[in-house]
């Protein structure tokens, strides 16, 4: 039976900048929108659906649709933090399948580097956020909330700092080939362990970069994809899930990837062992390790052994991951890494990754995002993509 095809990713663009003090966030959105549409061979006039999240300045889609000059019949401003853009691809595919739009544009951009953002400062703090009064006095920032998940994983399963470090080693091995990557130097496990502890057990090199920039995707009806000159990338399966503090029954050993992944694999009709390339949101090394377990690439608790010894390095290991260098080395625009995960998966499926990291005959890829805070509340989103 032929695979049901809901929609295709026809355009993808990652802004080359990593520091943009002289550009507004709105301008960066416009530049990535232009880039992705040019990549697809489409124009602004073709767009009838628009997707953005909390990084877009102004009031939801109203401000950006006006700024960009879009004429729309479908909008979606779903926001689950850095995973939102994977959900946008899924929702765009649904909207296209229902006939609500035919060319969907998704944009992300931000300037956290120019604005002095840091993973050691509180984020998303408003007094009306219901959890804030009960947590903010204790100093949860980004890095220590992820560190809570790492510490518990080590306690329960014997995961080590060395094993986490391998995730950074793999990302850096890939980033050396990316001329736009913020950090291009390869590193060793010992380099990671020798970098300062920011929030135990996470070292500086367990943390992603803070970068300006952005990215955009164009999702289209299969009929349009066929008419374009670019390789066709099908959205084969998608899943989304939220996990929080479970009414006080906190369990940091698993993430919502357990559900978003299962849903995506079931829809795609494939198994983790079929995946040739994986983009896994790497806000911190622990984000990758827990996601790999929950997505089913290894058993729960075996993530440390799975990532060790270069198993995530393209051409070396069993599961090439984040071949652009990921958030750990390449780019983490707007402090939201989901967009760049999809973009590198598209590059791999098109055969347009750097030759040194390109997976041979890459026909099936996974992209996964973890948005928000792994140690408190987060939104997971998984996409399974295939080259037609």
């Amino acid at each position: 039976m032929p695979t049901p095809r809901k929609a295709c990713i026809a355009g993808a663009f990652e802004h080359p900048t990593r520091k943009a003090p002289d550009k507004t966030v709105a301008q960066l959105h416009a530049e990535v929108a232009r880039g992705a549409l040019a990549d697809a061979g489409l124009t602004l006039a073709d767009v009838d659906g628009y997707f953005c999240a909390g990084d877009a300045p102004g009031l939801g889609a109203n401000s950006m649709a006006d700024y960009l000059g879009l004429k729309l019949r479908h909008v979606d401003t779903t926001d689950t933090g850095g995973s939102a853009y994977l959900i946008h691809v899924s929702h765009a595919a649904q909207a296209i399948a229902e006939g609500r739009c035919r060319v969907a544009l998704i944009t992300l951009a931000g300037r956290p580097r120019s604005e002095g953002s840091s993973g050691t400062a509180p984020r998303l703090v408003t007094n009306t956020t219901p959890d804030v009064p009960w947590e903010m006095p204790y100093g949860p920032v980004t890095v220590n909330v992820y560190a809570l998940a790492a510490a518990r994983h080590m306690h329960e399963y014997g995961t080590t700092a060395e094993q986490l470090a391998w995730i950074k080693v793999a990302a850096a091995a890939h980033a050396q080939h990316n001329p736009n990557a913020m950090l291009r130097e390869t590193v060793t496990v010992q380099d990671v362990l020798d970098s300062p502890l920011i929030a135990d057990p996470l070292h500086r090199l367990d943390c992603c970069v803070v970068s300006d920039g952005g990215g955009a995707l164009v999702v289209v009806h299969p009929d349009i994809a066929k008419s374009l000159k670019r390789p066709v990338v099908n959205v084969l399966g998608a899943g989304e899930a939220i996990k929080g503090t479970l009414g006080g029954h906190v369990d940091l050993t698993w993430s919502a990837a357990r559900f978003s992944g299962a849903t995506a694999f079931a829809e795609a009709g494939v198994r983790p062992s079929d995946i040739q390339y994986a983009s896994i949101y790497d806000s911190f090394t622990i984000s990758v390790l827990i996601a790999l377990e929950d997505l089913g690439f290894c058993e729960k608790g075996d993530g440390g052994r799975f990532v060790a010894d270069g198993n995530l390095i393209s051409g070396v290991g069993q599961l090439p991951f984040n071949t652009d260098g990921g958030g750990l080395c390449n780019n983490h625009p707007a402090n939201r890494g989901g967009m760049t995960k999809v973009i590198e998966a598209v590059r791999q499926l098109r055969g347009e990754a750097h030759p040194a990291v390109q997976v041979k005959n890459c026909a099936l890829a996974l992209a996964h995002g973890t948005g928000g805070m792994l140690g408190t509340r987060h939104g997971s989103a998984t996409l399974i993509l295939e080259r037609q």
């Binding site: 009064p133 947590e135 006095p137 204790y138 100093g139 929030a199 503090t245 006080g248």
Partner: protein
Amino acid sequence: MSTPSQDRPLGKVVVDAATEPYWAAAREGVLKLRRCTACRRPHWYPRPVCPFCQGDTEWVDAQGTGEIYSLSVTRRAGPIAYALAWVQLDEGVTMMSNIVDCDLDELRIGQKVRLTFKPDDGGQPVPMFTPA
């Protein structure tokens, strides 16, 4: 290695309809939880509608004892190192807190802790924990 805990500025707590009785109890040295009047289960953080069954909830006193579920000694988020933790109370719910008045380097997951308080920038006592 030794990292003695130091008091650090906590800012000012958020006082609103959801939190005012909690802070009032803290001024009396009591940690409050909310428990459902229908399913009788406590939850964290406190909410007027039960997250398990949507029943109404009521304030109850916690014993103020528990153990560290997870822990991160945060060394480079400001000038003062501090221990962010999830503390599982003996009532079964897990709350975010800090572990204070101790050597941060000696803290371990599973360690027994008991309630203490540290003042916020306005003098309001904030529930925290120290090794039992």
